[in-house]
Amino acid sequence: MNMLFSLGWRDLIWLTTAFTLSGAASGALAAAVVVESRTLLDLPWLVICGSIGLAMFGGLVGTLFTVHSAGASGAKVNVPMQVAADLGCAAVLGFVAYAVVVAYGWEPEVLLGSLPLLGVAGQKVLVPLIKSLVTVAGAVGNRLSGKVGE
């Protein structure tokens, strides 16, 4: 019943890099709160790093969703690039979540609870948004440069 899987050294290297990025940022959050003995909202820069790290942890699950659907359909996915894109989206959303929580003065738990979910949702929210913006910008650019209708 066991399945036989194979992973190369390159896989292990990028996998380790991804987890190190996420872990180091989360570690910064932990160190900030423990060493300084202050609340999350008092420590902007380190907490921003920690927020991004926690969101990245969720972003990796977003990558797993992509890999899962690609496995069923047989679509090819460049896994390291997908990891990089999802970590990037998660990082942006982690930063935005921190800004929103600070702006509204919510409890730190709200920030912590939302981060992994935001990370998972990163590719579903940011990537379509960026693609839409690029499409709109391209259409506007074409119109302005007079390419449409020629």
């Binding site: 019943m1 066991n2 399945m3 036989l4 899987f5 194979s6 992973l7 190369g8 050294w9 896989d11 292990l12 996998l15 987890f19 872990g23 989360s26 959050l29 932990a30 709160v33 423990v34 003995s37 202050r38 609340t39 999350l40 920690g50 926690l54 942890f57 969720g58 990796l60 699950v61 990558t63 797993l64 890999v67 899962h68 690609a70 496995g71 069923a72 047989g74 090819k76 996915v77 896994v79 409890e107 730190p108 738990e109 709200v110 912590l112 609870g113 992994p116």
Partner: protein, 148 residues
């Protein structure tokens, strides 16, 4: 080029599950345990975390019993397909509780060993889920290409 072969068995998952059920059992039976304290103090987020954690644990248990231990004629397709999601959900909740426990005044004094264990078991679970899922994807892709 396959340099390293990784063969996950039911044993790593069993250990992971035993640890998760110990956490869950302590939270339910002992109101002073770290998980119970965190779930109570963190309000809705903690409650949601406990629900996700419990659901994932029971799905993983069903997966272990039906798909791994019982004869092959018994199968729980959903649990096998989404095993990676349950393992990574448990890992995320561990990290969530670990980070919450670091908030000043949240966790009981002297619980730093458990907090470190939360982070360690969470990181291990996520690594396990990721490595096995990506490797399985590579196998599925190879099978698709072979079929074409």
């Amino acid at each position: 080029m396959k340099i390293m072969t990784y063969t996950p068995s039911i044993y790593p998952r069993t250990l992971y599950l035993v640890w998760a059920f110990c956490t869950l059992g302590l939270a339910v039976t002992s109101p002073t345990s770290l998980t119970a304290v965190l779930a109570l103090k963190s309000g809705g987020v903690g409650g949601l975390g406990v629900i996700v954690f419990s659901t994932s644990c029971f799905v993983l248990l069903a997966d272990l019993v039906i798909n791994d231990l019982l004869p092959d004629k018994y199968e729980l397709q959903f649990a096998r397909e989404y095993r990676w999601l349950c393992v990574s959900s448990v890992a995320i909740v561990y990290w969530l509780f670990g980070t919450m426990a670091l908030l000043p005044g949240t966790s009981p004094q002297g619980s730093w060993v458990l907090i470190a264990a939360y982070f360690a078991i969470g990181a291990w679970g996520m690594t396990f889920a990721f490595a096995t899922k990506v490797a399985r994807y590579r196998n599925q892709l190879a099978a698709h290409e072979h079929a074409v």
